[in-house]
Symmetry: C2
DNA sequence: CAATAGATTTAGCCAATGCTAAACTTTCTG
DNA sequence: CAGAAAGTTTAGCATTGGCTAAATCTATTG
């Protein structure tokens, strides 16, 4: 038996937490898209592919391809050459993302970081906070927040 | 001109923050790998591919392929069929990740979340906190921490 | 109402990250 | 020390998410 087998104790216990990080990348992207689409609809009445591409900083063709997947996933609907709409499920996901975003951003501000940093960091963090942590942040916000 | 062109104001201002999220995925993976390898070396004297695969919850072949990229990036060294080592740069990245990890995990605990949640959430959050937010967390920890 | 500009889609490419199955090394053990 | 078990690598495939260039559609406007 090879050498590594002599220390095999308790290794798979931690794999759950790690693999979560990895496979969640796809749903993060989906959340970013639907959140942005929801914002665009609210801000300007409709979401166009070009606007999504510009705000995400990717090429138009990339948006088209990703929207096709989101459509298959039942999050958005779109007719060729027309604006993008969210399904019920899409709106739910967008609202959930916005809620997390609001809590995390407000929390960071209450912690004392700059607005710029709060905005940027909350974009990254929002996809990785559990409900328990969100509750803790909301609690903190209720006491120290503004 | 198509209809969408009538509201083009100020769209690209926000793209920087968004694109950061997207392209950072690769370095996140690299950080996870080197951090885990550092932990394995410290815990058991050496890091073997199988251990990395198990803890990350991926197949052996995936680890081999990723390690090849990390080797090209100058973060690890490895002879075929032998254990994995970190380069100086690899150690630096690992140490930096561990430092962030410690701060974030300790901070979450001080915020009042469970150990389990603090462990899991900090894995996800550590890649998305700026130095400014880390300082704010450390400050909080110094006052309320344990 | 035809031309054109801008938006959108298609086609085809690439790299990263995952997998399984098969081949090959290393190490332990009888 | 030969065989078997475990670890490691190779080969080949799929998906995701990115790009550019070319083709196509829509809508404005002269």
């Amino acid at each position: 038996m090879p050498r590594a087998a002599k220390h095999q104790r308790g290794a798979k216990l931690r794999s759950a937490a790690f693999s979560r990080i990895r496979s969640d990348h796809q749903s993060e992207l989906a959340e970013d898209y639907v959140e942005l689409i929801a914002d665009l609809i609210d801000e300007r009445g409709e979401a166009r592919g070009t606007d999504v591409a510009m705000r995400l900083g990717v090429a138009n063709a990339t948006v088209v391809k990703t929207l096709k997947r989101l459509q298959d996933a039942g999050l958005v609907t779109q007719e060729p050459y027309r604006a993008i709409f969210l399904t019920g499920e899409g709106w739910k996901m967008a609202e959930d993302g916005r809620r997390k975003h609001r809590i995390v951003e407000g929390f960071l501000l209450a912690l004392g970081v700059s607005e710029e940093t709060a905005r940027i960091d909350s974009e990254g963090i929002e996809h990785h906070v559990s409900e328990e942590t969100l509750r803790a942040m909301a609690r903190f916000l209720a006491r120290n927040g503004r």
